[in-house]
């Protein structure tokens, strides 16, 4: 196994870990606002790590650019959707969870 393969392995496993963390957050967090963290933080970090891991294996620079473009698009999409959902949830009168 070459050095690049090893780094890919590490990055993919780290990415999968963040995906699992995001899903656990989605399942375990108490209200909509805290569940948004799972969408905006954990999963996008997971996707970013997976994409860096795959970019190491990419055959050309174009593929690297395409992968990065995909990541940026997902970041944009989930950040905006998280904001929109949180905003309308607040307008709808859902109170944030307090202990």
């Amino acid at each position: 196994m070459s050095m690049t393969d090893f780094f890919t392995l590490l990055l993919l496993i780290a990415g999968a870990f963040f995906y699992i963390a995001g899903t656990v957050g989605l399942l375990r967090f108490p209200d909509i606002y805290s569940r948004l963290h799972a969408l905006t933080k954990a999963d996008n970090l997971g996707l970013g790590l997976v994409i860096v891991g795959l970019a190491l294996q990419a055959e050309s620079l174009t593929v690297v650019f395409k992968l990065i473009l995909i990541w940026l698009l997902v970041l944009l999409a989930s950040a905006s959707v998280a904001h929109l959902v949180a905003r309308s949830a607040q307008q709808k009168g859902i109170k944030p969870w307090t202990r």
């Binding site: 698009l73 944009l76 999409a77 905006s80 929109l84 905003r87």
Partner: protein, 348 residues
């Protein structure tokens, strides 16, 4: 390797069936629609696993995006009408017919009254459908393991088609009839929707700065990707349908963000965009027939260029038609329609 593939496919298949069951059995319609969106997403994964990237592209654009948006808006309209007509004529009529309960409880009452008959019906239905499923499964499993299908014919004649992606070759050259009639079906569906009475508009009038920004950022990208898919369709997965659905997604996003077409574009420009795909397709077919060939027969020398021409027009028409279908009723000058025609035009 193979074990992993089996696990992946098995999990995907079981989840698809389970999701379908949950979608159909859930009491809450909104939940059913969200589950259906997830179902579309997993279908796209299944197409990826079945080595059908062309279909995966179409499903990703339509199944996971457009159908979900369509269903959500329809549900919102249904609920809005329910809230509005609570004390009006139509509901009173309904109440008279099913007095004294409302329609939902009436169903329950009917169900109770006929419970024995109903149960018998249900059981016999389950029995019959199990027989159908078992018969189908038997038929599938007893098929010969290898079937050449038409793949050899397609591969042998691919060089005549002007493109190197076999799916595009089939869609626009070998079986052009299907695509031609399919464009006509799209237009017919739109005519059907337009001939119904206008529905009240159901969009939030204040989309807010983030949605506005999002539409400004995403729509140019969507147009770019639509153009890319159209161009790449000649030799790799992509083509008019995929590009058209991405274009339609751009239109839907603009509609949702509150963009409307000015009256200037509502007359001929909108109709032109709707009809151009079919018109170009039919005129190319007729010209080929008049110049000595058969209907829809493309000469190999110009086939590539003609396919690109037809596909460009078809992309525009499919995109605008799907966006108009999403909008629902026929756009009126004083209020409505997509900024589709002018934004879609940039794609060419």
């Amino acid at each position: 390797m193979t074990l992993l593939q089996w696990l992946f496919d098995g999990l995907l298949g079981v989840t698809l069936i389970w999701l379908a069951w949950q979608t159909l059995a859930s009491a809450d319609l909104f939940k059913a629609i969200v589950l259906f969106i997830a179902f579309g997403l997993l279908m796209a994964l299944a197409w990826v696993r079945l080595n059908a990237p062309d279909i995966a592209l179409a499903e990703a654009a339509i199944g996971a995006g457009l159908t979900g948006a369509l269903l959500l808006v329809a549900l919102a309209r249904l609920n809005a009408v329910a809230a509005k007509t609570d004390n009006t004529e139509s509901n009173r009529n309904a109440k008279q017919r099913f007095a004294p309960e409302d329609s939902v409880r009436t169903t329950a009452a009917v169900n109770q009254g006929f419970s024995n008959k109903q149960n018998l019906f249900r059981y016999s239905l389950v029995l019959m459908l199990s027989a159908v499923a078992a018969g189908l499964a038997y038929a599938v499993l007893s098929l010969p393991p290898e079937a050449p299908g038409l793949s050899r014919n397609v591969a042998e004649n691919l060089y005549l088609s002007g493109v190197s992606n076999p799916v595009t070759a089939v869609l626009l050259n070998f079986r052009g009839y299907d695509t031609l009639l399919e464009m006509a079906v799209l237009l017919l569906a739109l005519l059907g929707v337009w001939s119904l009475r206008r529905l009240p508009e159901q969009y939030d009038s204040s989309p807010g700065p983030v949605l506005d920004m999002l539409s400004r950022l995403l729509v140019p990208l969507l147009l770019l990707v639509a153009g890319y898919l159209l161009w790449v369709g000649a030799r790799a997965p992509g083509g008019a349908f995929q590009a058209g659905s991405v274009l339609a997604a751009a239109g839907v996003l603009l509609l949702l963000a509150g963009w409307r077409l000015t009256a200037r574009f509502l007359g001929w420009p909108l109709r032109f965009a709707l009809i151009i795909g079919l018109a170009v397709f039919v005129s190319v077919a007729l010209i080929m027939m008049l110049s000595g060939g058969q209907l829809l027969q493309l000469p190999p020398a110009f086939a590539g260029a003609l396919i690109l021409l037809i596909e460009t027009a078809a992309t525009l028409s499919i995109g605008v038609t799907l966006a108009a279908l999403f909008y629902g009723s026929r756009p009126q000058p004083e209020q409505i329609s997509a900024r589709q025609t002018d934004s879609g035009g940039e794609n060419e």
